[in-house]
C-alpha cells in the first residue's frame, strides 16, 4: 500500500524508533518568539545545556510589539508596558547568549513568525518545523510537517533538535469544484471548522486535497493551513506543486543552482500515493461555500454571512446547547438576528492568518473609493516589515489612509492584544484573525472572524457585509 504525504514526512524524519516508545523526530527548523521561550532558555541554563543547532533556530519579536512606533527605532523604548519590555529584552539576551539569529522590532526582516518563515524561503517542502505557537501549522501549506509545541518542547528542541512524539493518524479534507467569486480561503477554512467542530481534527495530521486547494495561491493555502489548529488538527498540509516552487524560487534561503534542481526533483515525490489510505476523510462541496463569519466564541461557531444567529435550543447535544447559550450571552446577540444586521465598532485586518500582501491587496481593492464608516475604527497591520514595504510600494497604504483606516507597523497586534492594540469591554470587532475566544482581543471584547473582503466591506457599511452588498447599495 502507498503512503500519504504526512506519512512520508514523518518517516523521513525518524531519528529513532522502538516498540513501546514515542518516535524521535528530527526538527529541520525551530522558530522562536518572545512569549513561549524565556522559560525554555532558563531550563537550559539550569541544566547546563546548550542549543544544539543555533543555525536551525530563528527568532523574531512579534506578540508584544507595539505597532504605532516610528522608524528608525532604537532599543525598546516604544514599549510602554514594563512586563512586555522585559520579555522582549529577555529574548534579546537569550539569543545573544545562545548564538541565535534574531529579527528585532524595527528590523527590515521582523514580523509575525509565520509570515517571515515563508517570505525568507526558510519554509520549504519536506521539512519539519515547530514553534511555541499553535499557528505553526501555517507552514504546512508548503508540504511541510509543521506544528505548535509547548514550552517544555521548545526546550527539548533547543537542546536536542528532536522531539519524542506519538505518530498521529492521517485525515484528508477533500474539496473539489469551483469556489464562487468572492469566496476566499478564509471562508473555506471557517466552513470546514463549522462542519467538523473544534475537536474534529483531534489527533490527526490533515492533508487538504482537491481542486479548490490546487487552484489556491501559496498565501491562500497558508490561510487554510494556519487555522488547522482551530479544529484540533495536529498539523495541516497541502502537497507541493508548481505554485509552491514558483513561490520559493529566488527567495533568500531557497536552494539555488544544482541544489534547486535536486530539491525540485525530491519535492515532486512529496505527494500522497494513489493507493494510500487515510484514517479518516471529510468532504465539502466547493459550490456550497459562501462568505462565512463566526457568531460565537469558538471558531467552530460560524455560519454563512447570509444566515442568522442560531437558536441554542436547536442543538441536540446538551454541551453544544450550553456552549451556544453562553456564547450568545457573551457576544450580546439574539437568536434569529440576521448576521448582516450585526454592527461592529472595530475592524482588524492582519495576523498570521490574513496579514500577507494578497490579503492587503484584497482589502485595498474593496476600500478603494470608499470611506470607513464614522462609527468604525479600522486597523490594518501588515504581517511583516517586508509586507509593509511591499504594500507601500504598491500604494496600498495610501488607499487605506484615504479611506480612514490606520496603517501600522508589523506584528501580531489585535489578534490577541498582548500589545496595546485591544478591544475595550463590550466592543465588537470584525477580525481577519483566527480566534474569537472570550476576551481574546481584549477583556470583554467581542470578535467575529471574517475574511479580508468581508472585513473591508464591513468597515465601509458598519455592519457585517460582503463586497457584493456594496455593489447593491
Amino acid at each position: 500500500m502507498g503512503k500519504t504525504l504526512a506519512e512520508k514526512l514523518w518517516e523521513g524524519h525518524l531519528v529513532h524508533t522502538a516498540p513501546g516508545e514515542p518516535d524521535l523526530i528530527y526538527i529541520d527548523m525551530h522558530l522562536v518568539h518572545e512569549v513561549t521561550s524565556p522559560q525554555a532558555f532558563d531550563g537550559l541554563r539550569l541544566a547546563g545545556r546548550g542549543v544544539r543547532r543555533p543555525d536551525l533556530t530563528l527568532a523574531t519579536e512579534d506578540h508584544n510589539t507595539p505597532t504605532d512606533y516610528t522608524l528608525p527605532l532604537l532599543g525598546t523604548s516604544s514599549i510602554k508596558d514594563d512586563v512586555s519590555r522585559t520579555q522582549i529584552e529577555t529574548l534579546r539576551r537569550n539569543c545573544a547568549e545562545f548564538n541565535i539569529e534574531l529579527y528585532p522590532m524595527g528590523d527590515v526582516e521582523q514580523g509575525i513568525v509565520h509570515v517571515i518563515g515563508p517570505q525568507l524561503g526558510i519554509t520549504q517542502p519536506g521539512m519539519t518545523m515547530v514553534c511555541g505557537d499553535s499557528h505553526t501549522s501555517t507552514h504546512g501549506a508548503f508540504g511541510a510537517l509543521a506544528f505548535g509545541i509547548g514550552t517544555s518542547q521548545v526546550e527539548h528542541v533547543l537542546a536536542t533538535q528532536t522531539l519524542p512524539l506519538d505518530r498521529p493518524k492521517t485525515m484528508a479534507v477533500m474539496i473539489d469544484g469551483e469556489l464562487a467569486p468572492g469566496v476566499t480561503a478564509k471562508d473555506v477554512i471557517l466552513a470546514v471548522i463549522a462542519q467538523t467542530g473544534t475537536g474534529g481534527g483531534q489527533g490527526y495530521m490533515v492533508e487538504y486535497r482537491g481542486s479548490v486547494f490546487e487552484q489556491m495561491s501559496m498565501e491562500a493555502r497558508m490561510t487554510v493551513c494556519n487555522m488547522s489548529i482551530e479544529w484540533g488538527a495536529r498539523a495541516g498540509m497541502i502537497a507541493p506543486d508548481q505554485v509552491t516552487f514558483d513561490y520559493l524560487k529566488g527567495r533568500t534561503h531557497a536552494p539555488s543552482g544544482a541544489d534547486w534542481d535536486a530539491a525540485v526533483e525530491y519535492w515532486h515525490t512529496l505527494r500522497t500515493d494513489d493507493d494510500a489510505e487515510f484514517d479518516a476523510e471529510v468532504t465539502l462541496d466547493a459550490a456550497a461555500i459562501s462568505p462565512f463569519v463566526t457568531w460565537g466564541t469558538n471558531p467552530g461557531q460560524g455560519a454563512p454571512l447570509s444566515g442568522s444567529v442560531p437558536d441554542p435550543a436547536d442543538y441536540v447535544e446538551a454541551s453544544d446547547r450550553i456552549s451556544a447559550e453562553k456564547a450568545l450571552a457573551y457576544m450580546g446577540l439574539e437568536a434569529g438576528t440576521p448576521l448582516r444586521d450585526i454592527k461592529v465598532d472595530t475592524v482588524f485586518v492582519g495576523s498570521c492568518t490574513n496579514g500577507r500582501i494578497e490579503d492587503l491587496r484584497a482589502t485595498a481593492e474593496v476600500l478603494k473609493g470608499h470611506k470607513v464608516a464614522d462609527s468604525v475604527r479600522m486597523l490594518i497591520v501588515p504581517g511583516s516589515m517586508r509586507v509593509k514595504a511591499q504594500a507601500e510600494e504598491e500604494g496600498l497604504d495610501q488607499v487605506f489612509t484615504d479611506a480612514g483606516a490606520e496603517w501600522r507597523q508589523a506584528g501580531c497586534s489585535m489578534c490577541l492584544g498582548m500589545n496595546p492594540d485591544q478591544l475595550a469591554p463590550g466592543e465588537r470587532s470584525a477580525s481577519t484573525s483566527n480566534r474569537n475566544f472570550e476576551g481574546r482581543q481584549g477583556k470583554g471584547g467581542r470578535t467575529h472572524l471574517v475574511s479580508p473582503l468581508v472585513a473591508a466591506a464591513t468597515a465601509i457599511t458598519g455592519h457585517l457585509a460582503s463586497p457584493a452588498d456594496l455593489v447593491k447599495s
Binding site: 531519528v15 529513532h16 513501546g20 528530527y26 529541520d28 512569549v35 513561549t36 522559560q39 532558563d42 531550563g43 545545556r49 543555533p54 543555525d55 536551525l56 530563528l58 508584544n64 512586563v83 512586555s84 522585559t86 520579555q87 539569543c95 548564538n99 539569529e101 524561503g121 520549504q124 519536506g126 499553535s134 505548535g148 509545541i149 509547548g150 514550552t151 517544555s152 537542546a159 536536542t160 533538535q161 519524542p164 506519538d166 498521529p168 473544534t198 475537536g199 483531534q202 482551530e230 484540533g232 531557497a254 541544489d259 534547486w260 535536486a262 469558538n298 454541551s319 450550553i322 456552549s323 453562553k326 490577541l416 492584544g417 498582548m418 480566534r435 475566544f437 472570550e438 476576551g439 481574546r440
Partner: protein, 198 residues
C-alpha cells in the same frame, strides 16, 4: 518533575465544554518570564466576573482535581495554562476529550490529564456537585479513577505512564542516546535552510 503515582483529593466541577487556553490563562499574563506564580491568572476573567463561578465557591476550596466538559484546553499552545492549573493546586484534570497540544504539555509538566467517557464524567460532575466533600482517587499505577461506589479504568500509553511514575525528564531521556541524532544529521539534504549564527 515530581513523580505521580496515586492522588486522592476533592474535585471541582467545571461544567463547560471547549474551555480554551485563553480562558485558562489570558494572554496578558503570558508576558512573565518565570515558570511559577501563575495561580492568580487561572481562569481570571471568569473568577473576576462571575461570582457564582466554581472557583469562587467556598465549598470547592482546596480541591486538587478539576473535572471539565469535552474539548478542554483548545486553542493557543501556551504551556502557561498547565503551569497556572498546577500553581493553583490542581494535580489532575478529568475531561472526555483534551486538545492535543494542551494534553502534550500537561503530561510533560506532570499534570495528569485523564480521559473518561462523557457519561462517566457527567456522573462525576453530578456527584461532586451533590457532595463537594467527595474524594476522588486517580491511580496511575492501576490506571483507574475511583470515587464513592465507582471504579473506572482510563487509558494512558505505557511509556508516558512510566515517565510520570518515575518523574523522568524527557530531554534527559533523549540525550541518553545522542548517537542517533548525530547519525540522522549526516543524512540530511544538503540544501536545507540554515541561518548564519552570530
Amino acid at each position: 518533575m515530581d513523580k505521580f503515582t496515586v492522588h486522592t483529593g476533592r474535585a471541582v466541577p467545571l461544567r463547560r465544554s471547549n474551555v480554551d487556553t485563553d480562558q485558562i490563562i489570558p494572554a496578558v499574563y503570558l508576558k512573565r518570564v518565570t515558570r511559577t506564580g501563575f495561580e492568580d491568572a487561572l481562569f481570571h476573567a471568569w473568577r473576576a466576573n462571575e461570582p457564582g463561578f466554581v472557583l469562587n465557591q467556598d465549598r470547592f476550596a482546596g480541591a486538587s482535581v478539576l473535572v471539565a466538559g469535552p474539548d478542554f484546553g483548545t486553542g493557543s499552545s501556551r504551556e502557561h495554562a498547565v503551569w497556572a492549573l498546577m500553581d493553583y493546586g490542581f494535580r489532575v484534570v478529568i475531561s472526555p476529550r483534551f486538545a492535543d497540544i494542551f494534553r502534550g504539555n500537561s503530561l510533560k509538566a506532570g499534570l495528569l490529564t485523564v480521559m473518561l467517557a462523557e457519561k462517566i464524567v457527567q456522573r462525576l460532575l453530578d456527584d461532586i456537585e451533590d457532595d463537594p466533600s467527595t474524594e476522588v482517587t486517580i491511580d496511575l499505577i492501576e490506571r483507574q479513577v475511583r470515587w464513592t461506589g465507582e471504579v473506572h479504568d482510563f487509558e494512558l500509553d505505557d511509556y508516558t505512564r512510566w515517565r510520570l511514575l518515575e518523574g523522568l525528564d524527557d530531554i534527559g531521556l533523549t540525550l541518553r542516546a545522542p548517537e542517533y541524532i548525530d547519525s540522522y544529521e549526516q543524512s540530511r539534504k544538503p540544501w536545507l535552510p540554515a541561518l548564519t549564527t552570530r
